[in-house]
């Protein structure tokens, strides 16, 4: 088990280095300097150069990168070019918003997706086909469009739920939940059917297997076969799917935060992008990658626990 973790980390740590390095190189190739970004396009060449020198932005990319990396490992992601606030602090203050969204949607997806997939695999009939149709719809309908429709119907016309803003849990737990319902629903809804389809397919392939045939022939009760033997074999691939869904949800939060006016990492990303705030972009890129790496690591550990063969590999 430990060796799986170590092997994953051996890949994960360099990955984050590579991503941050690519971002660094790309931004240096893009032309325009940090000084230029801060002072704006009208600033004189001398003042830009002076600022660049002061900030160390005139050094070779590699030197700058190593310098940045040295600070990054201590948790210092530099200062925002635009606001001058430490990037790490800004990110930290916005994590709860984004995580509430992403984790809420993930729970929704897991609970509804796995349950309906299992029902389709066991009972068959309409559920399976429905999940397939919904999966196509979920992938095909743009989430930001769905979100706008949801705002229109539930927020404006029916006025059931707030359509904008985020209430921290500490301020008001009920307000927190209310502010999350719509964005979480819209964010999760397109992925539910996807998880359902994978759950159904994996359970069915286990049900067709030789060992299930042997268990049936040896008189095991169906509940034991399905909920123990089939379930444990289907769990690992479903889990892998869930981890991929989480990555896609993480991307989806950017749009949801923008539409529902939530001060999370996504809105930070969008504003940094419009303002060319390279330090913030760099920090966010590394943070998002770290999130994905952690999720994959947890998935690997869980799969290893579920599947002896994967552990042996």
């Amino acid at each position: 088990m430990l060796s799986v973790v170590i092997r994953r980390l051996i890949v994960a740590v360099p990955l984050m280095g590579v991503i941050s390095f690519i971002v660094f190189v790309l931004s240096s190739l893009a032309g325009g300097s940090v000084g230029q970004a801060i002072l704006g396009p009208t600033a004189s060449a001398e003042s830009v150069a002076a600022l660049n020198e002061k900030l160390g932005a005139d050094r070779p990319v590699l030197v700058q990168y190593v310098d940045w990396l040295g600070h990054a490992v201590t948790g210092d992601l530099g200062l925002s070019v635009v606001s001058g606030v430490p990037v790490a602090d800004t990110i930290a203050s916005r994590i709860p918003v984004t995580m509430s969204l992403a984790v809420g949607a993930l729970l929704l997806v897991i609970i509804l997706g796995v349950t309906s997939g299992a029902i389709a695999a066991i009972r068959g009939g309409i559920t399976g086909r429905l999940a397939e149709v919904l999966a196509v719809l979920g992938r095909g309908l743009p989430s930001f469009w769905l979100a706008l429709i949801a705002v229109l119907v539930f927020g404006v016309n029916l006025a059931w739920l707030p359509v904008s803003g985020y209430v921290p849990f500490a301020d008001s737990p009920s307000g927190w939940i209310q502010s999350l319902i719509l964005p979480v629903l819209v964010l999760g809804v397109s992925e539910i059917a996807l998880v359902a389809v994978v759950t159904r397919a994996e359970m069915l392939s286990a049900m067709r297997s030789d060992y299930v045939r042997s268990l049936r022939a040896n008189g095991y009760p169906w509940k034991r076969i399905v909920f123990k033997h089939v379930a444990k074999n289907a769990a690992a691939p479903v889990l892998t799917m869930v981890s991929l869904v989480f990555v896609s949800l993480l991307g989806g939060t950017i749009l949801m935060e923008q539409i529902f006016g939530m001060p999370g990492l996504g809105t930070l990303m969008v504003s940094a992008t419009t303002k060319h705030d390279l330090q913030v972009i760099q920090g966010l890129a590394v943070f998002y990658t770290a999130m994905v790496v952690v999720v994959f690591l947890l998935t690997d550990i869980a799969s290893g626990y579920l599947n002896a063969k994967a552990r042996a590999r």
Binding site: V11, R139, M207, R213, N218, G219, N233, G251, I254, F296
Partner: protein, 652 residues
């Protein structure tokens, strides 16, 4: 001889691949949904490409009398907040989005195909490096990376879409890679022992045929994702700068006019939805076409559908040697098993009758495809989905099994009748240790507690002669050898102390030396417990070694049944004789064995007369006129042949 067979196998593979390739396009265009989606996409693409000529207005032309209006004769899809014609803006905006899709797809296809094909065909370190690279790229959150690129390169859509193509490439590479590997293995298996037959050209042709379908499916998914991503970028205001239209920023405009009029949401979001849905459905259609199934015809499979339909035939049909002496422990009369094929049903096992006396060992012998396994699966009611068992009677120790429900059957499976299958390792659940699985069986069948179950499980392991039971118990099935796994499977079947053990080719998958050990074990266990045995096999050596009586099956029917001694000495049916001649029983080892010419007719293609006629040396016109009945020859033997008398003459 083996080379000839292998050569034929390769030809067979090539033919199948060619068929798959040939059937692909017709199957694709036969699906109405594929045609409809292609047409929709074609119309949209053409309308956008020729927007300058097709669109009724200029994209920036304002009609200030008509702002934020719904559809009307002059503005088919209404106008936006500045009175600009929505349809015209959509058509012009489509150029941006479609160009983005093309960029992303092109980049993705080039990288994905290159990585997948090189990794798949070259193997070795190239494979490792390429796949590691894919793993690495998979961990990159797509939308975030797009924003990073846009942040750095400022509203440069081409850069964003190219990045998207790169990010999506590993998934395509994996799809192409596994398709390539599948083709390569298929060919490799067929040609392993015939050096030189796998030329690069054969590889190339096959891989092309095998990869096209999966790759196209994945590419249509990439196109759909690119469409949504491009629109998303536009929606966030990071794409083409307004007032120039794009599908994404039109939705932003719609959001802004939402307080006044919600109409604009419909066409602007709708067009994105229509395009992505069409692309997704097109992908599904392509997948259905290369998987060889027409869409919608795939019957809903489920656990519930696994329950076998059982019906009792009116009257006992068919002959078969009548049980004599002891009351049989299992008696099957007139059992027919049908499996679904397409929308109809095809008979696999046809009116089979047999019985097993207590403590007796009965072999069911025949070539593959004769219905041996299905016969025993029919008795146990463990069959593929949609199976249908009809029988006058299947009785186990006097209980009529045909009238039992699925739940009631479970009282007999495992405890009355034990089962072991052909593939020992895959017959055990890969996710649990074998010790756990054995203890589970003991607890289930004997109703004992944990500690006692553990005790009994260890005893069972000792009885099947597993060395070091403690160490073996902690292992997973894939960590065991075939022989060890089969011992575990036997121990599991013994957990319920069955009076009848059904073994489906228990030694076929094992090495010769291990085969003997397992057969010895089965014989000893039978002596100790007095349980009866049904052993399905195609190996006369196994029959002679382990069984008392043999049932020969051909094309779904029992064609001969007799004591093992007499059947080997005096086979009555020409098929039995041919089988015996082609096996090594009674012949010096390594002598060249004659092979029975021809093949078993497939279920559904059985002739009206004798089913063996096409391969039988003694066939005459009378054999082909109608079904051949079972003819009782001696007290306990019978054969389904009208010329058994002639055989006597030939033999003596």
């Amino acid at each position: 001889m083996s080379a000839v067979i292998e050569g034929a196998a390769i030809k067979e593979q090539s033919r199948r691949a060619a068929e798959r390739g040939a059937g692909f396009l017709p199957r694709l265009v036969r699906q109405p949904i594929v045609v409809a989606c292609s047409l929709v996409l074609l119309v949209i693409v053409l309308a956008c490409v020729f927007a300058q000529w097709v669109s009724p207005y200029e994209p920036l032309e304002q009609d200030l009398q008509n702002t934020a209006a719904g559809p009307s004769a002059s503005h088919l899809l209404g106008t936006d907040q500045l009175g600009r014609d929505i349809l015209s803006r959509m058509l012009h905006g489509g150029q941006v989005t479609l160009l983005g899709i093309v960029q992303a797809v092109a980049v993705c296809a080039v990288i994905g195909l290159f990585l997948g094909l090189t990794a798949g065909t070259l193997g070795g370190w190239v494979e490792t490096v390429a796949m590691r690279l894919c793993d690495l790229l998979l961990a990159v959150p797509g939308l975030v990376m797009l924003l990073v690129i846009l942040g750095i390169y400022g509203n440069n859509e081409a850069a964003a879409m190219i990045t998207l193509g790169v990010i999506m490439a590993p998934t395509l590479a994996r799809v192409v890679y596994s398709a390539t590997i599948a083709v390569r293995e298929e060919l490799y298996v067929a040609s392993a022992r015939v050096a030189g037959l796998t030329s690069f050209q054969i590889m190339r042709r096959h891989i092309l045929a095998g990869v096209t379908g999966p790759a196209l499916t994945q590419i249509s998914i990439v196109a759909a994702v690119a469409c949504i991503a491009e629109a998303g970028i536009g929606f966030l205001g990071l794409g083409v700068a307004p007032p120039a239209p794009s599908w994404g920023n039109l939705v932003t405009d719609a959001q802004n006019v939402m307080p006044i009029s919600a109409w604009m949401l419909v066409p602007t979001g709708g067009i994105i939805a229509v395009v992505t849905l069409s692309l997704t459905l097109l992908g599904n259609g392509i997948r259905d076409a290369y998987m060889g199934r027409s869409s919608g015809s795939s019957k809903a499979f489920s656990w519930r559908a696994l329950a076998v339909k059982v019906s009792q035939a009116e009257s006992p049909a068919g002959g078969g040697a009548a049980p004599q002496g002891q009351e049989p422990i299992l008696s099957v009369k007139g059992m027919t098993v049908g499996l679904p094929r397409g929308s109809s049903e095809v008979t696999i096992v046809d009116d089979v009758s047999f019985h097993v006396a207590p403590g007796e060992a009965v072999a069911i012998v025949g070539e593959s495809g004769c219905g041996k396994s299905v016969t025993i699966s029919g008795v146990l009611r463990v069959l593929p989905m949609g199976a249908h068992v009809t029988a006058a009677s299947i009785s186990f120790k006097g209980t009529e099994l045909t009238s039992l429900s699925e739940r009631e059957m479970n009282a007999y499976r495992g405890t009355g009748i034990g089962f072991i299958s052909q593939e020992p390792i895959s017959s055990l659940n890969p996710a649990f240790t074998v010790g756990h699985q054995l203890e589970e069986a003991v607890r289930l069948h004997r109703g004992v507690g944990k500690g006692q179950a553990r005790q009994i499980a260890r005893e069972l392991m000792a009885r099947v002669r597993l060395p070091e039971p403690e160490a073996v118990a902690k292992k997973y099935p894939h960590e065991l050898s075939g022989g060890m796994a089969q011992r575990i499977a036997i121990a599991r079947a013994l957990a319920g102390e069955p009076e009848l053990l059904i073994a489906d080719e228990p030694t076929t998958a094992l090495d010769v030396s291990v085969q003997c050990e397992i057969l010895d074990l089965l014989r000893d266990l039978r002596e100790q417990t007095g349980m009866a045995l049904i052993l399905v096999t195609h190996d006369w050596g196994v029959v002679a070694e382990a069984c008392d009586r043999a049932l020969v099956m051909y094309a779904g029917q029992v064609v001969e049944s007799a004591d093992v001694q007499s059947i080997i000495a005096h086979p009555a049916h020409p098929y039995t004789r041919a089988l015996l001649q082609s096996s090594s029983v009674g012949i010096a080892p390594r002598q060249l064995l004659p092979v029975i010419a021809g093949t078993v007719p497939a279920p559904g293609y059985w002739p009206h007369g004798c089913r063996f006629a096409s391969r039988c040396e003694l066939a005459e016109d009378a054999c082909r006129t109608g079904p051949i009945p079972m003819v009782t020859l001696e007290e306990s033997s019978a054969a389904r042949c009208i010329r058994t008398d002639v055989d006597e003459l030939v033999r003596t």
